[in-house]
Symmetry: C2
Subunit: 276 residues, 2 copies
């Protein structure tokens, strides 16, 4: 099911600036029993991105359309995924923003991915890709649609990997290919700064808040591969899976999931990640 | 007029990876009396980009479709613009390339921009924007559709500017917002290296070749704003306008267009830029 500007439709003009230049932002939202999880938080990030990209957005219209799409999604599965995309709409050829804004709001409902339960319970295998994230403070943090670095990163995964780290050009760990990354170091949760590159995950914020609420300290710090290898625990997060502990990175194995699982349980209790 | 995979159509699936992640490349081609100029050179760059982005491309099909679109473009103007876009086509949600390639080849015919003749004859006003180009050697040179830096750059132009320089994060001049940039320094044409960022223009290659063919030396060198200000001549190039000399940058005025106009005349004589 696809909804474009409130109407059932599945195609977009070839002159849409989302297609011409990637001038759009998107959110991937877990939907549980027809309710989009963390909708306000996703819309907050979407609005920030629209401001950076000069896209006009009616938040209330989009909110209603997302609720409508989730409520009228005729697939009898409790867990679904909503992909919400907002583009700068139709304009002339050329980089100049159109004088009259014609935003396209697109909502598409997808299957929830079929993932093994052990990813949550026993942890995942983490790799690291070659391609480096470029530094662009103007675009850092927001979830825009210029995602070629992630597409190329995904093509560099080796068989068996469940997620792979991406580094910046100074070899600092920034994020996973489609997740944020955290380590636990002497009881403190550490995660990289995202002011120069990377996507500031909605679930990342939830994890930092949740940790603080249960008395676990958090820090935004530069992170190297050596830090990841030396960590007591490593975990990744995104809005679809919530939190995955890491059981193996390169030759390093992790068997301690104490804080990872504590946070995951809190997130489940708070109803912000789906429970199986 | 729009042609998608050889058929008249003007809309694309909202699940096309061109829209989802900007996984596409494009060319903007000047069309003179229904003939696309420098078509082989444009297709060479497009093919390079497709290889980098794992997009499968039938060059011969695309070649025929572009010729067909130009020949059957029912607008009675000698000068037109063809925008050719090739996307990775429809795949599932997620960064992973689809197992079955489903390339979308899109050709759109546009009006040639209505530009003052003095831009060629008396030169343009050049500015410089704040946003910096990020460094990404994997994507440098090719004309992919992740163009948010250019969209933001265009929004930073001041009134009166005809083009604006973009710098990298080390304050080196790389290119214009939609052109390549050259200076003439003691009779030698100099232009920046594009191996870390920037788009390697089809017209840039033509200019370097043309200069060499008439005995004007060329160099690929790092370029600072100071070099631009101190230059004997400055000019910009792209496939649509060919070559524009610069008459003013910041407080600096240039009145010498000798080599710029010599190259422009050669390009016109060679039939690779439109003549008015």
């Amino acid at each position: 099911m696809h909804l474009i500007n409130g109407k059932s439709a599945s195609t977009l003009s070839v002159t849409d600036r989302g297609l011409l230049y990637g001038q759009s932002v998107f959110e991937t939202i877990a939907v549980f029993k027809q309710k989009p999880l963390l909708l306000d938080q996703h819309l907050d990030r979407l609005e920030r991105g629209c401001r950076v990209l000069s896209i006009e957005l009616s938040r209330s219209k989009l909110y209603d359309e997302i609720e409508f799409a989730c409520a009228n999604d005729n697939v009898p599965e409790p867990l679904r995924v909503a992909r919400v995309t907002v583009t700068a709409g139709i304009g002339g050829r050329g980089y100049m923003n159109p004088v009259m804004a014609t935003t396209s709001r697109i909502i598409s409902m997808f299957d929830y991915p079929d993932l093994p339960v052990r990813n949550w319970n026993k942890g995942i295998i983490l790799g690291v890709v070659d391609i480096r994230l470029s530094c662009q403070p103007v675009l850092a943090g927001i979830k825009h649609s210029n995602r070629l670095e992630q597409v190329i990163a995904r093509s560099q995964w080796l068989p068996g990997w469940n997620e792979a780290l991406m580094l910046n050009q100074d070899n600092q760990v920034i994020e996973g290919t489609h997740s944020n990354v955290f380590i636990v170091n002497h009881g403190v949760i550490q995660t990289p700064d995202l002011s120069q590159c990377g996507i500031a995950g909605v679930m990342r914020d939830q994890i930092l808040e949740t940790a603080n609420s249960i008395g676990v300290s958090t820090e935004i710090v530069p992170l190297s591969l050596t830090d990841v290898i030396a960590a007591d625990e490593v975990f990744t997060s995104n809005s679809i899976v919530g939190l995955w502990p890491v059981r193996k990175f390169q030759t390093q194995r992790y068997s301690n999931f104490k804080i990872s699982h504590k946070i995951l349980n809190e997130l489940r209790n708070n109803g912000v990640v789906p429970t199986f």
